[in-house]
């Protein structure tokens, strides 16, 4: 009887195979082309706890670029989207931003979902004078005390979201809140803004700041249970928020307190049990607006193209790409400083604003003023994505307050 032996993989064979793979996978040398496309670089956390939100933004941007290229692109040039993974790590996000600007020579940077990364990327884009759109990083200083001439933001600030929903939560459930927030730029500013609004209404609170990628919330939920709040505000993001929701229902806490907060996005709602699909929340955009024909048309077209219902993240990305076009067409150039001036005060057309109210970039802080939808989350009704019912709409201006209150002092380059 002979023992079967595996063919030995020799070192020389490995070297030859490695060389062949390297040659085959090497990037082709691209010769100069007559018409250079407009290059948009997107940095987003495709890995890590915010990956579902980032994937939606990338998908929304791809859809928007495809739609734009069918309509002659930007200034008659086709648009090319380059996507890099920031891995939910600030250092990597900074590195990828430099890579897109220095190697790929992108005209515009878009990103990041993670507020801390978006905030850090602003340092690079401002240093290298590149036009930068933040679609989904909410922390206030981006269009507040650290606002920059080259940066525009689409999603709301945390103070806008908190201002839109706090009053409703107090009115419906009571003044005793327990906060669970992530310990980084977004969570800190959001919690502080909620607390400020709550104190103004005479409320009381207890709060826990947890690492951004926390997966076990049991200790914090026990504290919340003991505090007996009227509302538990789950400000965590992405997978962390989903895990917190699952544990909340496993503890049976939904019978003891209401749920609520600033953001509970469609991507996260889909991933939690029906018991946790509850509470009063703010939505920055919602797909079900039957009275707005542009929204109906966009949702139908998006579903046809991707087979999915668009979320707020898809809309952020659409606005980001379309804003590049609008700024370039108004400025008649892809020059960053001129595009920035062109976008200031610019009102989005209805097929981009996708809301009943008007949406425009405020000149003083470069923050998009758009409608905020406050309403109730519930298990799906018919359509699996029909999980939210709009109760009221708060305008962006009302939630944001005056520019002076943001601390932004906009300085344009000479």
């Amino acid at each position: 009887m002979t023992t079967p032996t595996l063919p030995a993989l020799r070192r020389r064979t490995l070297l030859k195979s490695g060389l062949a793979v390297t040659v085959l996978s090497a990037p082709p040398i691209v010769s100069a082309r007559g018409e250079t496309p407009v290059r948009i670089g997107m940095v987003n956390p495709l890995t890590g706890i915010l990956s579902a939100l980032a994937a939606s933004e990338v998908e929304g941007a791809r859809y928007a670029v495809e739609r734009l290229n069918k309509k002659n692109g930007i200034l008659g040039r086709q648009v090319e989207l380059l996507v890099e993974d920031s891995a939910n790590d600030v250092g990597t996000g900074v590195q990828k931003t430099r890579k897109l600007i220095e190697r790929d020579k992108v005209d515009v940077i878009v990103g990041d979902v993670n507020s801390g990364i978006a905030y850090a990327m602003m340092g690079v884009t401002n240093e290298l004078k590149v036009f930068h759109i933040v679609p989904g990083g909410h922390t206030d200083p981006i269009t507040g005390v650290d606002c920059k001439w080259n940066t525009f933001r689409i999603c709301n600030t945390t103070s806008m979201d908190a201002a839109a929903v706090t009053g409703e939560l107090v009115r419906r459930f009571g003044k005793r809140f327990f906060f669970i927030s992530p310990d980084y730029a977004y969570g800190q500013t959001l919690q502080n803004n909620f607390i400020r609004n709550l104190k103004a209404l005479g409320g009381e609170f207890q709060a826990e700041l947890l690492p951004i990628n926390t997966s076990d919330f049991s200790a914090t939920l026990i504290k919340a249970k003991a505090y007996k709040p009227n509302v538990l505000l789950n400000n965590m993001g992405g997978l962390a928020q989903i895990n917190c929701m699952k544990q909340f229902t496993q503890f049976g806490m939904q019978k003891e307190m209401a749920l609520g907060g600033a953001l509970f996005e469609l991507e996260s709602v889909r991933a939690v049990p029906a018991d946790a699909q509850a509470g009063t929340w703010a939505m920055e955009w919602w797909w079900d607006q039957p009275n707005v024909p542009e929204v109906v048309s966009y949702v139908a077209d998006f579903r046809k193209a991707t087979g999915k219902t668009p979320s707020a993240r898809h809309w952020f990305a659409l606005v980001a790409i379309e804003s590049v076009r609008l700024a370039a067409e108004k400025a008649k150039t892809m020059d960053g400083p001129k595009m920035a001036l062109a976008l200031e005060g610019l009102e989005l057309p209805p097929e981009v604003a996708l809301s009943a109210g008007k949406a425009y970039y405020r000149a003083g802080d470069h923050q998009l003023m758009s409608d905020i939808f406050v309403g109730d989350m519930h298990p799906p009704k018919g359509n699996p994505d029909n999980v939210f019912t709009i109760g009221s709409i708060v305008t962006g201006e009302k939630a944001a307050g005056p520019v002076e209150a943001t601390g932004c002092k906009m300085v344009h380059p000479a």
């Binding site: 993974d85 250092g91 890579k99 220095e102």
Partner: protein
């Protein structure tokens, strides 16, 4: 006469020329990187990243490759160096040399103090304590929000132009000038490391690595040497961290995280821990792979992992160790 000459000539061995040749090739590539790198789809900041992480891995290798002691927490000194530089620039003075000094003092100083506590430990105990210290430093940086910026990192500082008295070099806006500044610092530090390893002190470290018991019987104060090696390694690693902060104009707590410590180990082993330039080769491979493959797939770390496994299985001396051996054949 001719016959006598022929018979007494000994063919020159290639062995003595090899380290010299490796050094020349590496320096030629580094000096000309801003010219050839863009042609291959690279960019200057990438070369800067290779230099910084290569310096960190070479500094770490003083401990692992030349003293035979394993630290799994070297990212702590790298990150502390970055914060030292960033805090100096932000709160003390807009001076790049002072920032580097600040980084070395913070990372190297804490490493020196910590080394005093652990130089008695060996093997897995030494490695575990270094991980523990690394994580303590990580969580302090993460939690001390008011000073370090917490998870979001330290922003609001930028490297300052170099004032040499007779002229000012703009390393703030000129990326090529900054790359050559990094290269000069890299050259000075690697020169110092080479001198150190060629000195009696360096030979003693190798003796400890080869046979600690025999070295002790020879009367060598082992603990003191390990402490000094650890301390020097931490100082150089902190310097690399300070350069990293200057490269990005930014410092974040992930620079102290144990995952970066693991990456430094991977770079060192992949490149070859018994070769002086090995960790630099490992860092170049790691950084380029990360940059290139991460644009194509989010699973880029799987590829690095596979390459690491293949290197360990087939080239236990690392890539440079294998290449030098190949040339010698």
């Amino acid at each position: 006469m001719n016959t006598a000459t022929t018979t007494t000539t000994v063919p020159m061995s290639t062995t003595p020329a090899r380290p010299w040749l490796t050094g020349v090739i590496i320096w030629a590539l580094l000096l000309s990187a801003p010219i050839w790198l863009p042609m291959l789809g690279g960019y200057t900041a990438l070369a800067g990243r290779v230099l910084v992480l290569g310096l960190a891995a070479m500094s770490f290798n003083l401990l692992l490759g030349f003293t035979g002691v394993m630290s799994f927490g070297h990212a702590a000194y790298f990150g502390l160096g970055a914060y030292g530089a960033g805090l100096t620039l932000k709160y003390l003075a807009a001076s790049t040399p002072l920032a580097i000094l600040g980084g070395v003092l913070l990372g190297g100083g804490l490493g020196t103090l910590f080394g005093l506590l652990i130089s008695q430990r060996r093997g897995v105990y030494f490695a575990m304590v270094t991980v523990a210290f690394g994580q303590i430093a990580f969580y302090i940086t993460y939690s001390w929000d008011s000073l370090t910026g917490g998870y979001d990192g330290l922003r609001g500082f930028a490297r300052a132009p170099l004032n040499l008295g007779f002229t000012t070099i703009d390393i703030t806006n000129n990326s090529t000038a900054f790359y050559y500044f990094l290269l000069i610092v890299f050259g000075v530090v690697t020169g110092l490391q080479a001198l150190l390893l060629a000195s009696p002190f360096g030979r003693t470290l190798v003796a400890i690595r080869e046979n600690e018991r025999r070295a002790r019987f020879l009367g060598i104060p082992i603990e003191r040497h390990i402490w000094m090696s650890f301390s020097i390694s931490c100082c150089f690693t902190a310097l690399a961290g300070a350069m990293y902060a200057l490269l990005n104009n930014f410092a974040d707590p992930m620079g102290l995280h144990y995952s970066l410590s693991g990456e430094i180990v991977i770079m060192t082993v992949m490149g070859g821990m018994r070769a002086f330039w090995g960790p630099l080769i490992g860092a170049a491979l790691f950084v380029v792979l990360q940059d290139y493959i991460s644009s194509m797939t989010v699973n880029w770390m799987s590829f690095v992992g596979m390459i690491f496994v293949l290197v360990v299985l087939f080239f236990p001396r690392g890539l440079l160790g294998m290449l030098q051996r190949g040339v010698g054949k």
